[in-house]
């Protein structure tokens, strides 16, 4: 009887762990140590708050579904960008990339670019870096007529995961947090590349 209780307990704990583990895994990839987790927490919270705001603003627009009419796509993007920029008219650089998070990002990026795969990450970036580097600011719309710099894929594996509405992009030496629906600069860390 005692043994049966032990087995049942073990099974219960195992299922609880299996249920919870994916939820934790989905949050932030890099912060394995508690210091990093602490530094990233405000960033992750602010990212979530941003996406929540973005979703509520988007809900006031006609829903964008796959369409044959490109005007609808362009119109949706421009309207959403305007609504977000209005709602965040007082937003400043560093509002989402908090100081502590920005320092963590710098460390991760420096390690990635100076480590054994650093030359590959550099090569990835050099491949697509546009000749014309535009200085970006919070709430700027990404110009659509210059190529995007590919975010080094090995670095991507080390940064905190973002919701699908946002992406990390390098513009020049700056790391930009980009809203991919609105094509808008949400925040940036200047001079992150070593």
């Amino acid at each position: 009887m005692k043994r049966r209780i032990q087995i049942t307990r073990f099974l219960l704990w195992s299922s609880l762990f299996a249920f919870l583990a994916p939820g934790f895994a989905g949050q932030a990839r890099e912060p394995q140590d508690s210091e990093a987790a602490r530094d990233f927490k405000p960033f992750i919270d602010r990212v979530r708050a941003y996406v929540k705001m973005e979703k509520s603003l988007e809900a006031s627009l006609p829903t964008l579904k796959p369409t044959k009419d490109p005007a609808q796509i362009v119109e949706h993007q421009q309207s959403l960008a305007k609504k977000i920029a209005d709602a965040r008219r007082d937003a400043l650089q560093g509002d989402i990339f908090t100081h502590e998070a920005a320092e963590r990002f710098r460390k991760i990026i420096h390690r990635a670019f100076e480590g054994p795969e650093g030359h590959l990450a550099r090569k990835t970036m050099q491949q697509d870096t546009p000749f014309k580097v535009v200085a970006m600011h919070v709430n700027d719309v990404f110009p659509d007529d210059i190529p995007l710099t590919t975010t080094p894929p090995t670095l991507m594996q080390k940064l905190p995961e973002l919701p699908p509405e946002l992406a990390y992009r390098f513009v020049g030496r700056d790391l930009v947090l980009k809203d991919i629906e609105a094509q808008l600069v949400v925040d940036l860390i200047p001079n992150t590349l070593p």
């Binding site: 490109p70 990835t124 491949q127 659509d144 190529p147 590919t150």
Partner: protein, 323 residues
Amino acid sequence: MPTIRCSAFVSCVALAAISLSLYAQDLTLPLKPDSVRFAAIGDMGNGGKEQYAVAGQMVAYRGKFPFDFVLMLGDNLIGSKDPVDYQNKFELPYKPLLDAGVKFYAVFGNHDISNERFYKLFNMNGQQYYTYKKSNVRFFALDSNYMTPQQLAWLEKELQNSGSDWKICYFHHPLYSSGAYHGSSVELRLLLEPLFVKYRVNVVFSGHEHIYERVKPQKSIYYFTEGASGELRKGNLTKTDLTAAGYDQDRTFMLIEIAGDELYFQTISRVGLPVDSGMIRRVAQAPGAASWPTVRPGHGGLPGRTVATAIGGGLTRALTATE
């Protein structure tokens, strides 16, 4: 302006029809019953007259080889992306194909923006990366601009579930390339190649380098770069050990046919010349076995030097298959 585009298009189709009459006999694809037939184009969306000429050639060749769909290997809309650009850089050049019900399945290039995924004619269904199946062939359309851990996990799961289908991956940045301008995307290769090998991907198509190249099998996987269906970097193919065949003297597109365990391919230039062709045989194998197939060089116009002779002088970079 649209009138000028239309007349340019009509001229291109006429030119393609004339050249087809000269070269269509060189079609090497076997047209087997119930085969999967498609085309592949990359780096095409600049709206230039060469893109229109390649499109015209595709229309003409479809008369001989009725393909059902087209892989778009990225840089679908180069430069501005106003509504009129969707028209001039996609809808107009490929209008006869679209009207005939040919479907286009796009991936992003570094010149594309993610909102293109909502454009119905690109068949991305709002997704940055996606998969679809045609008969016994499973296609994996990836976003190589932004290879997140989520995308890699998704790819692994989908590859795992794809069973015994042909597995064809396509994305913009080539893992292996002899192009002088960008070269191989080695960093991306570190992440993707282990999955391709583990789950026995058969063939990979990419663009980005504005040339055509067929790479010698790498770890038993066949790699094609088709990045010259609108853009072109003439003379940009360097001779390396990677190259099985290549062409950098004019714009090109590919035609592919899969029948059972055989994949036939033919690459055709803007003026209708066959640039490369061949057949890849997929060998059914036990799990864990190492190797796949062999390319049988194509019939007739395969590749390089024949073409070089036909076009005339100075095409030293049109290479001959070495297998």
